[in-house]
Amino acid sequence: MSTLVYINSNNGLAKSALEAVTYGKKLGDDVTVVTCGSADASKLSQLGEYGASKVMVDRSVTANDAQQISNLVKTAADSVGATTIVFSHDLIAKAVAPRLSVRLKAGLVSGAIAVPEGNTVKVNVFSGKAFGNVKISGDKKIISLLPNSIQPEAGGSDCGVEEFNGNAGQPKIKVLETKKPEGEIPLPEAELVVSAGRGLKGPENWGMIEDLAASLGAATACSRPVADIGWRPHHEHVGQTGVAIRPNLYIAAGISGAIQHLAGVNGSKVIVVINTDAEAPFFKAADYGVIGDAFEVIPRLNEAVKKLKASN
């Protein structure tokens, strides 16, 4: 029995990658990590600290083409005799894990939020409104772990890094252009998120949201109507039809808390709601509530955060 963990290492070792390796270790069997791209071997060897006994890297592939990555994970799985494959439930896993499930005829659980009990894995269902326990019937498993579900645990020592040929084949998808906003924290990975809705009245008022986010080191998000009217970019839209996030802290200003919005944020550990309307449904889902005008409360909160940061 052995476990294979695929990680995306193109932008260094993301927290989600460390979580996936830690998760693999918790399954109890020997853990091999497979990755592709150009990350430094010295960086990759640090994965040993989180429980990997070896890292296999295919330098010929970039983390773009799901078919290529499926091929190389399959090659690695065959070579170490993996019975379980772990991914972080990110955009690549969403494209690769289902393909591998069919190819290996391995039961797939996507969006796991806990370590399995036997063959049963806990996941979010109904857009975060409930949990389900999914049983995998065969002896091969693929699990993709929802980011921020467990904490990375270091403790071991560096491991060996081996270059290998994953027989990835030719890409069938040609990348014409990549557009990445520079320097921003990707929303699904952010631990702190400051979000605002229609209560802010117009795009010109987002300065205070960005300032607060900068003081906290947080990412910014918004409700759907705000993205639809074009006040904020689409990738910031959270909720049922947007991105689902589960940060440690979600601050929502001027958002009513409609059920479709909550569906994307109710996995957050702590929710702070700022709203002029004491009856806003969001307060029912909040841990801390402030009944007040965001235009006054947000700058005040920002000052208080800066004070805390200065004193630490």
Partner: protein, 246 residues
Amino acid sequence: MKILVCISKSPDTTSKIAFTDGNAKFDENGVQYIVNPYDEWYALVRGLELKEANGGSVSIITVGRAADDAVIRKALAIGADEAIRIDADPTDAYFVAMQISEYAKSNGFDLVLTGKETINYNGSQVAGMIAEGMDLPFISLASKLDINGTTATLETEIVGGVQVVEAELPIVVSCAKGMAEQRIPNMRGIMAARTKPLNVIPAAEVDTLTSFESYSLPDAKSECKMIDPENMDELVELLHNEAKVI
């Protein structure tokens, strides 16, 4: 161009989520089913737009039982030409995907579209599995799709941004926000949907790999602590020392 759009049903977003049979089954009592929003708003409407621009046909397919015909008619009312229902319970993603890929392989589609995910199980599994079953390229979470001859150009989400990619048809695409604008069916569409073909076909022999054993609801949130809007120092103190998140 022959387009196949995969349609699933999902409980109306405002449905009360409850379970029966000792938390082993979703309680369907009083639940209204709708077409899964991603399938309807994005996959189906973009399929129709491409047909309107390039000619061809849009078929919708669902793996489900006769009770789902109402949901299928709604998708037909929006404009699909015909519907296929594979008569089986959609037990797991593998089962569903293998049914659809078996059908699609023998019927020569240029484009297979799905939604990003179902809003009840949120698996994001079926589309990639169909692609593997058909041995086709798969573009996941596309927010734009244009077709020029036999070449598709797509915009797709990547970690922290978007990517513009190109692939040769046939392909499988899962559709996310941005792909199209929701269409409301009109009276003529609803009338026409009643007479459009809905072909019910028997399921193929396929295993299932996973099963939902039980469900649970999250613990009720503890009472929300109200903070004086004048006193943001207190909120910061609580977030720092009590919640320990900053």
